[in-house]
Every structure is written in structure tokens, then in C-alpha cells.
Subunit: 175 residues, 2 copies
């Protein structure tokens, strides 16, 4: 499947000059959702994943489906203040200002092989913060999977520099 | 499976007197996630669901997995300002103040049979707003599924008063 054909591009969102890649049109299509999940699941079946971590909020949709198909549990990596129990958090830089991700402090067993999932990788700031958080919680991010890569922004390379292999289903250049 | 045994109760969260039912401990457990999704999927297989709508954010985790297993697409029902394309929105009352849910205006085909999914039903305000929104978009909410019901708060009854059958996996009373 050519996943890019199912993804809607919204020019100048959220601000002028940005081409936003909208995956809602991919996952609202039965074959789009099914093929996306299948492609990631078949890649990860041999990797003995213990648990899937999905990044809020679009990473929850794909991550939950992948975890269920891999027969693992799922942990949500959430924005600050959203989790009800004791958390650990990691700050990361946005283009302007900072943001913070959190997980429950008891969410990951020691040495667990964690698959990190989000819908899209751009600069990689969010994914790197999530990987640091999972490391600090005692887990090991063995791979990261995304529906979409924006290779010009270099995020996948930054994850691979941290020895986290990246698997993506499609990529968009800047046009 | 006794789903209640996998759910963590956090007293006095988010404020004194509230017993918060934390489903992250259910879904982080491989059998917990698997059995939850299977139980809802097996209930909904005969119902010819066209699309699953999950409510932000925990409804995305279970809803994405259910959609993938039912072979349908998934649409996110999101908080205000989170969707990138043209939206329709519905305000609803919280205990103090108002909140707003949105879906993409083209997310649902005319007459589509929609399954509404969230982690928990309490007063039902969020689920009712989501159902209204789906109606306005041209869909038909044929059922609503939740991991947890808090029957004292009456939300399931309110949905059923609107001719939306409710299926839940477990319930907690006030203690």
C-alpha cells in the first residue's frame, strides 16, 4: 500500500509554511488502519517486544492496536499532569519554550524491551524525551515505529544515533 | 477475567472524595489488554459496525485496537483545537464550567453505523456530547462500549435513554 495517498496534507497548519501531514484520513479508512497496523506488527513480531509505549495522543491509537496484536501490554507516555499515579517526567525543547512528558513510575518492568510508537517523527524531540524517560524507568527502547517520517527534519537519525532503530511506513519531503 | 482486579483505585484523585479508577494497570498487563479488547470485539462483531469513534485520550488506546480487530476505520473525538482540518464541535457541561469536543466534519459517511468507545463512563456528559456530534455529522451511534462503569453516576442510563445500548466490562460502586 502507498500510505502517502491516504494521508491528507494541510498547508500552513498549524502556522504559515508548515505542511501538516494528517493521518486521520489514513486511519479512518478500514484498509488504511488495517494495513498500517499489520505492517508495523509484522516488522516487530520477531523482536520479542515486552511492552509498547505510545506517545499522547495519536500514538495511542496505533500503539494500542499494535500492542494488542503483539500480545503485549501498552503504556501511555502522556503530557504533564495527565496521569493519576506517581510519575517520572522529562522536559524537552519545543521550537518556542519547553514541554514535558510523563510516565507512571511503576509502568515498566526492569529490563523490559520497549517498542516506542507515535504517528509521525519530525525533529525527534518528543521521541527522544520519551526514550530517555523509558530508560530512566528501567526499560530498554529496542525500536521506534512511526507511520510517517519527515526526513528533512532529521528525527529518525537522532534516534538511530542513540542506537534506537527506526521503522517508518512512509516519508514526505518538504513539498 | 475479573477486570476490576487489574484496575488501580486512587483515593482522592483528582480531588478529595473521588475514587479514581486507573485503567493503565489493566492495559499495561498483556492479558489485561488482550482480554479487554477481545471481550468488546466479540460483543460487537455481530453488529455490523462501520467505524469506531474513540474519545480523547484513553478511548484512543482501546478504540484503535477494537477498530483494527473489527476491520473498520477509527475516528478520534478530540478536545477543542486539536484536529487540523475543518471540524464540527459540541459543548458540554462539566461539574464547573464547560468543555468542547470536536470531530472532522468529513470524518463520518452518511448513515455510518458508529461504535463509540471510551475507557470509563461516569455521568455520561462526554459520551452524550460525542454521540450528539456523531449524529450531527450524519452517523448513527449504534452502541457505546466502556471498560468501566460507575453506575451510581447514571451515565449508562442516560445513553440508553437516547436509544444507545451500552456494554461495559466491569463496574465499581462508590466504595
Amino acid at each position: 500500500m502507498d500510505f502517502t495517498q491516504f494521508i491528507r496534507t494541510i498547508p500552513d497548519y498549524p502556522k504559515p509554511g508548515i505542511m501538516f501531514r494528517d493521518i486521520t484520513t489514513l486511519i479512518s479508512h478500514p484498509e488504511g488502519l488495517s494495513a498500517s497496523v499489520e505492517a508495523l506488527v509484522s516488522h516487530y513480531v520477531p523482536q520479542n517486544i515486552d511492552i509498547v509505549a505510545g506517545i499522547e495522543a495519536r500514538g495511542f491509537i496505533i500503539g494500542g492496536a499494535i500492542a494488542q496484536r503483539l500480545g503485549t501490554g501498552f503504556i501511555p507516555v502522556r503530557k504533564q499532569g495527565k496521569l493519576p499515579w506517581k510519575t517520572i517526567g522529562e522536559d524537552y525543547e519545543l521550537e518556542y519554550g519547553m514541554d514535558r512528558l510523563e510516565i507512571h513510575e511503576d509502568a515498566i518492568g526492569a529490563g523490559a524491551r520497549v517498542l516506542l510508537i507515535d504517528d509521525l517523527i519530525a525533529t525527534g524531540g518528543t521521541a527522544l524525551a520519551a526514550a530517555t524517560l523509558i530508560d530512566r524507568a528501567g526499560g530498554m527502547v529496542v525500536s521506534a515505529g512511526f507511520l510517517v517520517d519527515l526526513p528533512e527534519l532529521g528525527g529518525a537519525g537522532k534516534l538511530e544515533d542513540r542506537d534506537i532503530p527506526v521503522h517508518v511506513l512512509c516519508a514526505f519531503d518538504g513539498e
